[in-house]
């Protein structure tokens, strides 16, 4: 694998994570429990879509075959998407969305801080920019985690169920393969395996504060980064890609 091919896949993995999570969060528009949450979740969705757009644009440049950012989003099939499974899982109840967001925002805080040190100027610029936004995302999900975990019997039970159900999808955030290895050597990519312990410590602290139990580390469900997805992604893409597939090259 050339450095260019590796960088292309590396960018796609991040862009796909941001796009699919942004899509999922946008599904809360007009469905959140209160108006302020409609605004919060769709604002967070928008930050992810913006990040995805910048990453796809850069990925298209790196690939250099003439494909555009729109081609990458609208003309790739499910097996060509490289997002982690966690972002494509259904929103579930509000507790499930909060648990997913808390796990991901905690990861992104650490990941983007490292990415901001990348030797690749575009990646370091994006890292430094997006971390400002993620600080807000993190506080939002952390506040809700405390409120629901340390709330009523029902909110506590729902929050614990959400944490338990999503736990086995969190390990994929720290996976690495030959795509990352050379890029880490070249100080371009972030070494996510080095973040795992820090992440577990920060998440465990917050869960304990929210009177919740941290599940034991065990089997992890993975595959998305290499294109092996749950059935959920197909349904997302069917909706996301409907228009350009039904009316190829339609413009306003």
């Amino acid at each position: 694998m050339t450095k260019q091919e590796a960088l292309f896949i590396y960018l796609l993995r991040q862009a796909d994570n941001a796009l699919i999570l942004g899509h999922r969060l946008s599904e809360w528009s007009s469905n959140a429990p209160i108006l302020e949450e409609d605004l919060a979740l769709t604002n967070i969705a928008l930050d992810h879509l913006g990040r995805a757009q910048a990453l796809y644009k850069y990925a298209a440049e790196v690939e250099g075959t003439g494909r555009t950012e729109d081609d990458l989003v609208y003309k790739r099939a499910e097996r060509q998407y490289r997002n982690i499974l966690l972002v494509e899982l259904p929103n579930g109840d509000f507790a499930m969305t909060i648990a997913r967001q808390f796990f991901i925002s905690t990861f992104e805080l650490m990941f983007l801080e490292e990415l901001a040190k990348s030797k690749d100027e575009i990646l370091s610029g994006l890292g430094a920019k997006c971390i400002k936004e993620v600080k807000y995302h993190w506080r939002h999900s952390y506040d809700w985690l405390l409120r629901l975990g340390d709330g009523t019997d029902e909110s506590h039970a729902r929050m614990q169920t959400a944490v338990n159900e999503l736990w086995m999808y969190t390990g994929e955030m720290f996976e690495q393969d030959e795509v990352e290895k050379d890029l880490i050597q070249a100080n371009i990519a972030c070494d996510t395996s080095a973040l795992k312990e820090k992440w577990i410590a920060k998440v465990t602290n917050a869960l304990t504060e929210a009177t919740l139990t941290t599940p034991p580390i065990g089997y992890n469900q993975t595959g998305g980064r290499n294109g092996v997805h749950s059935e959920n992604l197909g349904f997302i893409l069917a909706e996301l890609q409907y228009l350009p597939r039904a009316y190829p090259d339609a413009t306003w």
Binding site: L39, L46, D47, G50, Q53, G125, H140
Partner: protein, 156 residues
């Protein structure tokens, strides 16, 4: 082909109001970064406030419209993410315009501020309703004295 200096192009564009907060311009907000003349073409660099800011497309269109109306066709617009946009780029005058418009202006990022001032009655007895408001750059607050809800321009 019309040729003017890059400074003149900058001042033509600096009057464009922000689409979401029309009392301040894209220059005052720091969205318009610079104009450079490269190989007889103007390179206009803009930066988004937040990475998903939906106003960017409209700002690009307004830039194109202004330059076309002046007969300038030799330009390209570049979106840059670095240095990351910060509210520290807003001048004291721009902040005052925000306050008069009813938006509590951002404090500087270096400063620790625990209370946000109500732009209507100047009280510091306010509370946050939500850190996410009507646009990416604003949070929603409530004044406990005059009872008005107001926007706070987030300091980032």
């Amino acid at each position: 082909m019309v040729m003017i200096t890059s400074e003149e192009v900058y001042s033509l564009l600096s009057v464009i109001p922000d689409p979401e907060i029309p009392v301040i311009t894209i220059d005052e907000l720091g969205i318009l970064r610079n104009v450079k003349l490269l190989d007889s073409s103007y390179q206009i660099t803009i930066t988004p406030t937040y990475s998903g800011c939906p106003a960017m497309q409209m700002i690009e269109n307004q830039i194109k419209e202004i330059l076309s109306s002046k007969g300038i066709e030799n330009f390209n617009i570049k979106t840059s993410y670095s240095p990351a946009w910060t509210t520290d780029w807003l001048s004291a005058e721009a902040k005052e315009k925000l306050r008069k418009y009813g938006i509590s202006p951002p404090h500087t990022t270096a400063e620790f501020v625990s209370f946000i001032q109500c732009p209507n009655c100047n009280s510091f007895n306010t509370e946050v309703i939500s850190e996410f408001g009507s646009t990416s750059c604003k949070a929603l607050y409530r004044c406990n004295d005059c009872k008005e809800a107001f926007d706070y321009f987030k300091s980032i």
